[in-house]
């Protein structure tokens, strides 16, 4: 090959690859609206999109797996956390996580209520974009799908009896006070009640451990309450969840792995071991799992 031929090679490669790339770009444009549900890009989504950029979120978080790696991916966050949780979180992240425990914390952002609603709408739109099913498994912010893996050693040894200031907390849990947001308190209860809820229930969709996944439990309950097949006593989501915690057999999920002869396998000690205010916090947290 002489220099003239090699120059031709360079130009031809570039031209062919460039032409193919442009062709595919045109074709992609024809599909963008459908894949991204562009008709759902409302004014509120645009407010959120702007807030996302104005607050430089991308330089800690990832969205569609793109951004910085200092904070969790948020592509499907609205599928894991309900609106009530996200609103409370965005108002003050330090109520949910402890910098001393996690070694990092989201700084409190200067967000208006409109920005917060917009961000949640924007993230909800993102979560519905057809992106080839990524991530293949849910990316959790905290906690684990594997029981026990977030526990401290004393907890693994079953030495905790109730939640108090002296109780060793899992490495990922933050100490809470009664002044905290009920959802945050409830999340803490979810990890630290005895036995811990998280030992048997994941909050990942489709990850069923000893107990069924609680992902979307609030929305599912709502649908159940509305359906004619429902014959239980509880009249609202909170009531149903409260009952499900203290009297597990009252609301059973079908399946031989969860119950036998009408009796749920879930421990029934929470009615006496969990204080009423702790139960309310737990219910607030579970209600936020939309």
């Amino acid at each position: 090959m002489n220099k003239r031929q090699s120059r031709f090679f360079a130009i031809a490669c570039t031209a062919v690859a460039g032409a193919l790339f442009l062709g595919l770009t045109v074709n992609s444009h024809a599909q963008f609206d459908k894949l991204t549900n562009a008709h759902n890009i409302t004014a509120e989504v645009n407010v959120g999109n702007k807030a996302w950029h104005d607050n430089n979120c991308i330089n800690c978080h990832t969205l569609f797996g793109e951004g910085a790696y200092y904070a969790p991916d948020l592509t499907k966050i609205t599928k894991l956390r309900g609106e009530a949780y996200l609103k409370a979180y965005l108002r003050d992240p330090s109520k949910f996580y402890d910098e001393q425990k996690h070694r990092r914390l989201m700084p409190k952002q200067d967000l208006s209520e409109a920005d917060i609603s917009g961000l949640i709408a924007f993230l909800e739109w993102v979560s519905n974009v057809d992106n080839q099913g990524w991530p293949p498994r849910p990316i959790l912010v905290s906690g684990a799908t594997l029981p026990g893996s977030t526990f401290s050693e004393p907890q693994q040894a079953g030495k905790t009896s109730d939640v108090s200031a002296t109780t060793p907390l899992p490495p990922g849990a933050r100490p809470t006070t009664s002044a905290d947001d009920p959802i945050a308190l409830g999340e803490n209860m979810f990890r630290s009640a005895n036995p811990a809820c998280v030992a048997c229930h994941s909050i990942s969709p489709g990850v069923n451990l000893a107990g069924p996944s609680l992902a979307g439990v609030s929305a599912r309950t709502e649908a159940l309450l509305a359906s004619p097949a429902y014959t239980g006593q509880a009249k609202d989501v909170a009531g149903y969840l409260r009952e499900a915690v203290i009297a597990p057999s009252a609301h059973r999920v079908p399946g031989d792995m969860y119950s036998a002869n009408g009796v749920s396998f879930m421990p029934s000690n929470y009615g006496k071991d969990v204080k009423p205010e702790q139960l309310e916090a737990l219910v607030a947290y579970l209600s936020s799992l939309k």
Binding site: K3, S6, R7, A10, I11, A12, C13, T14, A17, G18, L20, L24, T25, N27, S28, Q31, F32, L35, T36, I41, N46, W52, H53, D54, N55, N56, C57, I58, N59, C60, F64, G65, E66, G67, A68, Y70, D73, E99, Q100, H102, R103, R104, P107, K108, V126, D130, N131, Q132, W134, P135, R137, L140, V141, S142, G143, A144, L146, S149, T150, S202
Partner: protein, 457 residues
């Protein structure tokens, strides 16, 4: 230095060095934040330090490219620059823009669009400066009537870099579409036209340093450019995984980005065979270290570590983890930082006559400390990333809990980054140790074949 106007390169290099130092300050701060807790959380949070770290990199590397071009073009075209004044005006505008943008970032005055955070006024100044630069270089070559292949490739890269910045100026309402076009700038820069610039500078250096035959070197330069583009343009598809674009980008990304290392392996072979054949005739061994080092480290960082997570079936699990940071650091350092340090090391003895042409002992310390430090940082990101992928993505441990379990890798990252910083500090100190003196050499250079003449061969 054969042409007086080549002295403008010194000031470009000096600005690049200062910004390089600043980049590392924010890099180290960001690494420390991974260890946490962060006492600066409300003053200078991670998003700001990280944005400054990456933006300073882009600004100083481009400054280095422009300085390198102002050094190379007079020699290749055998003439003084068209306008020295324009080159200085351009440098002042560029530097002011860079500093103002960074100060704005302290107040989060930016677009919040990864790597393209520059606010619109800064972007417009960037465009104007690039046009001034291309005009100055273009007029120089036109006046001289000599265009060699090496400078043609270099200029082609710089011109396309300016054109590809245009999509970054536009606003897209659909977030997925915005990502789609963001990569036209970022990917086609770093895995396309910047590689042209790297290739052009490398060809220039190898011809000077090894005495390799220009005809042969330039012939292979074209082959490398062809390979870069056939894989690089369609390789953009590996940024189109999982973002809401049609599924056919997945196999296209897999195939073409797996081909991307071919050009990089070619470049390493190109550099190695040039020094083998010629028997190292040039005294500046330090510049040769940087030149060959750049080719080899690019093959490792951009090529090997890129392929490691580019197939869709792998990327499905590694996407958005520290694996990307591993690849990013090694690739940028090898391909762009090292080539700029190579051209600086080559030009410096001529710009500062006080220093030895062979390169100083300090210069060699700077080389090896940087190399060792960056290799260690790459390993720290890799081990952290592998841990993250298994714990978080495969086993389903929460993000925050995972980050706590891979803390030790952040300790290693900070330690090796400190080593790297010492190496950079030595390089910067060595750069400013001798004052510049712009004396012109009078001996004639051997006759250069021209692009037009070469084409008729």
């Amino acid at each position: 230095m054969r042409y007086k106007s080549q002295s403008v390169a010194y000031w470009y290099f000096a600005v690049a060095m200062a910004l390089f130092g600043l980049q590392l300050v924010f890099g180290l701060l960001s690494a420390a934040k991974y260890l946490g807790p962060d006492p600066l959380i409300n003053i200078l949070p991670f998003d700001v330090t990280k944005m400054m770290h990456t933006n300073l990199l882009i600004v100083w590397v481009l400054t280095g490219f422009m300085g390198g071009t102002y050094w190379v073009v007079p020699e290749e075209s055998r003439t003084e620059l068209y306008s020295v004044k324009l080159a200085y005006v351009q440098l002042v505008m560029w530097t002011l823009m860079g500093v103002a943008t960074i100060i704005g970032y302290f107040f989060r005055y930016g677009t919040g669009n990864k790597l393209l955070e520059q606010p619109l006024p800064s972007k417009l100044v960037i465009v104007i400066v690039m046009l001034m630069f291309l005009y100055n270089i273009g007029m120089t070559i036109r006046r001289a009537g000599r265009l060699t292949t090496t400078e043609g490739v270099l200029l082609g890269g710089l011109g396309l870099a300016a054109i590809l910045y245009v999509p970054a100026l536009l606003h897209y309402q659909n977030y997925t579409v915005a990502i789609f076009y963001r990569w036209w700038t970022i990917h086609l820069w770093v895995e396309g036209v910047w590689e042209m610039i790297q290739g052009g500078l490398m060809a220039y250096l190898l011809i000077r340093l090894s005495g390799a035959d220009r005809e042969v070197m330039e012939k292979w330069l074209y082959v490398i450019v062809g390979l870069v583009f056939i894989a690089g343009i369609l390789g953009t598809a590996h940024h189109y995984y999982w973002i809401g674009v049609p599924g056919y980008w997945l196999p296209i990304g897999g195939v073409f980005s797996a081909l991307e290392p071919v050009a990089l392996v070619g470049m390493a072979m190109y550099a190695y065979s040039a020094i083998r054949r010629s028997g190292l005739s040039h005294p500046n061994g330090l510049a040769l270290h940087w030149t060959v080092g750049s080719a080899v480290f690019t093959m490792f960082g951009a090529g090997l570590l890129g392929v490691a997570h580019t197939l869709p079936s792998v990327n499905k699990w590694t996407h958005g983890t520290l694996i990307t940071a591993m690849h990013g650091h090694a690739a940028f350092y090898g391909a762009y930082v090292m080539i700029v340090l190579a051209i600086i090391s080559y030009a410096l003895p001529a710009l500062c006559p006080g220093r030895s042409e062979k390169g100083s002992a300090l210069g060699y310390w700077a080389f090896w400390l940087q190399l060792g430090g960056m290799f260690g940082m790459t390993l720290a990101f890799a081990t952290a990333g592998i841990g993250q992928v298994y714990l978080e993505r495969i086993m389903g441990l929460g993000y925050l809990d995972t980050q706590l379990k891979i803390q030790i890798h952040f300790v290693m990252l900070t330690a090796t980054a400190s080593l790297f910083t010492i190496g950079v500090g030595l390089f910067i100190y060595d750069f400013f140790r001798y004052p510049p003196q712009f004396a012109v050499r009078s001996d004639a250079e051997p006759e250069l074949p021209l692009l037009g003449a070469a084409a008729s061969n």
